[in-house]
Assembly symmetry: C2
């Protein structure tokens, strides 16, 4: 292999690939990136055996070939090279070394045979569709905060993406929950997604996917099977196993009979929750909400350190209500609101509370109360 590639192009491609590589590896080749040069491009492939990313970049290929080299070291070197440098990568296929040259800098990196690199088996995908980057971004950004970190409930360690029946018809839906709070985000069903099997996209995949979604004008090709999901742009292909489990029947958790409605400026609400939570000890961050005629009093009582109280003007016309929540959960939910007002729908102090943005049913959040 012998190629020349512009430093910025190389940095972007290697950067995307190396972020998939786990920092602690017991299998040495998993720390490496597989470089394959052919035609007028080079591809960088990295994997942790669950996720595989392939990033293609234009390059001047003098001699086609392939090798593997430490992803982190290569990335660090390229990052430190001066902007605009032309980088030459040469591997003679026999020495077990990759030569990296740019200007007066010269590096020799140990390689591992390309044959040892575990390439993810290709799959048959049942469903192929295309979705605009901003649509996928919204689906995952607004739901991922609720992903569970409890390893024993592995089927909650991801975002459940599936086709669902909403009031307006069939939608593409993302749901995440950890048992304390839940997010349910809907988007128009893309053409070709009708028969998509429901899949649980792992937390790490959601994080890696995010890097593909920054460009508002980008169309993302999505392919789904029972065991795998693939997201692709013209340059990058991200393939991931999905979580092998059954996502619980979340619809039973979403309250439908909550009638006591409070409307509040989401930003003001979040700031007030944050302020009153300051006095509480780290462990039990319980905030009490007291509702009365167009008036909300938030309060925290921490025997050791003190107490806090704050009043907010809200729209509320129902009977008096006292209900407690974990401050962190309230903050996270309130920060999902893009528009001005958050609408909370309560039942009793012991029942789950629903939150949505105005009358919009396409983003719905549920949070469990706690005793205060």
């Amino acid at each position: 292999m012998k190629i020349s590639i512009e430093r910025g192009t190389l940095l972007k491609a290697v950067g995307q690939a190396q972020s998939v590589v786990e920092r602690r590896n017991t299998i040495p080749i998993l720390a490496n990136v597989l470089m394959e040069a052919e035609g007028d491009s080079v591809s960088f492939r990295a994997t942790d055996l669950d996720i595989e990313v392939v990033d293609k970049a234009p390059a001047q290929v003098e001699r086609a070939g392939a090798t593997t080299v430490s992803a982190v070291t290569l990335h660090e070197i390229v990052r430190k090279l001066p902007d605009g440098a032309l980088v030459q990568l040469v591997d003679d296929g026999a020495s077990g070394k990759l030569e990296v040259t740019a200007g007066r800098s010269h590096f020799t990196l140990a390689t591992l045979p390309k044959e040892d690199f575990p390439v993810m088996a290709s799959s048959e995908y049942q469903s192929n569709f295309s979705a605009p980057a901003p649509v996928l971004r919204r689906l995952f950004d607004k739901s991922k905060f609720a992903i569970s970190t409890e390893e024993t409930r592995y089927y909650l360690n991801g975002v459940y993406m599936h086709v669902a029946e909403a009031e307006e018809g069939r939608v593409l839906r993302c749901v995440a929950t950890d048992g304390h709070r839940l997010a349910r985000i809907d988007a128009d069903l893309p053409d070709g997604a009708e028969d998509m099997p429901g899949v649980i996209v792992p937390r790490k995949t959601v994080g890696e996917l995010r890097k593909l979604l920054d460009d508002d004008d980008m169309q993302i090709a999505v392919s789904v099977s029972e065991t795998k999901i693939r997201f692709a742009t013209p340059e990058i292909t991200l393939t991931s196993k999905v979580i092998d489990g059954t996502f619980p029947d979340y619809s039973r958790v979403i309250p439908i009979g909550n009638t006591r409605q409070m409307e509040v400026d989401a930003q003001e609400f979040a700031k007030a929750v944050d302020r009153v939570a300051t006095v509480s000890s780290e462990r039990s961050r319980a905030v009490k909400l007291q509702l009365d005629e167009d008036r909300l009093v938030l309060s925290v009582n921490a025997p050791d350190s003190g107490a806090a109280e704050e009043e907010l003007a809200v729209a509320y016309g129902d009977e008096k209500l006292e209900i407690g929540f974990n401050a962190k959960y309230l903050l996270e939910i309130a920060s999902q609101v893009d528009r001005e007002n958050a609408v909370f729908l309560f039942n009793s102090a012991g029942d789950p509370t629903l939150m949505r943005e105005g009358t919009d049913q396409s983003a719905v959040y549920v949070v469990m109360p706690m005793r205060v």
Copy 2:
């Protein structure tokens, strides 16, 4: 105590004080800040028993008084209050509570009796002088990187500030070393500093002092005794014990007979060192310098991961030399250079190397070589 104070003013004063407070305290009152309101100002005093900071701020004092309250909690609350808010602090002296009110936010914080707060004993200072903030900033900023972190050599855990005899006459000098590298920075001797005893200013004090030195036009009042040092602006007074030990005779470490001179662009040099060090394992970050007629080759050889080499154009007219250094030490020293060129003076591969900026003798660095 009953006072009103503007949120921004309060935030600045409490912020400065709370940074001295240690996060883990076995003595509860050391987590608190002592507030004392009188006349038209309020002062905030915090201590870790070695350093004390007092920050004075203008306030509308309705009822004079004093109390102590958790520094971190008060700071967090004030930080989260809206910009421009007027904050009222009320303590009735009997309830053991401080009431904090701003707009519709209301906090009650537990207090501890002001009598229990350990106020640092006042001292006689032998030497009092005034120095511009930029002068002190230079003295400490350029030397502090070399402070030792080895607790057994406690007398190296600070910057040795003293009066010294330089070629141009007597100077105010700061020296720090950890045995591997050394920094010696000189400044004009301020009026009144002639009889200053040499003191070792602890690392934490150097860090806290830095916050007083941002304003270029500020004059800092410095007072020094055998056991304490005090830095003061009109608002803030920082008093610190000095390290009770003898700073070693550093002058013996500074080579005077090094004649093999290399002049190099400091930025280019630092970048090249950083690049070649990429391939080396974290533990032995040894960089080899090979010098020949106006040419420097930097190289690293790491058996596991690979090798790196880079050539730099330098000014060097002496005989060939091969010498090794810890990459981190070289980087730190090179990054102290404000001007374009760093001048290195070598002797042999086993002797300490000297670095300075051009012909300027007021900032001199020494670094020990390592075998490569």
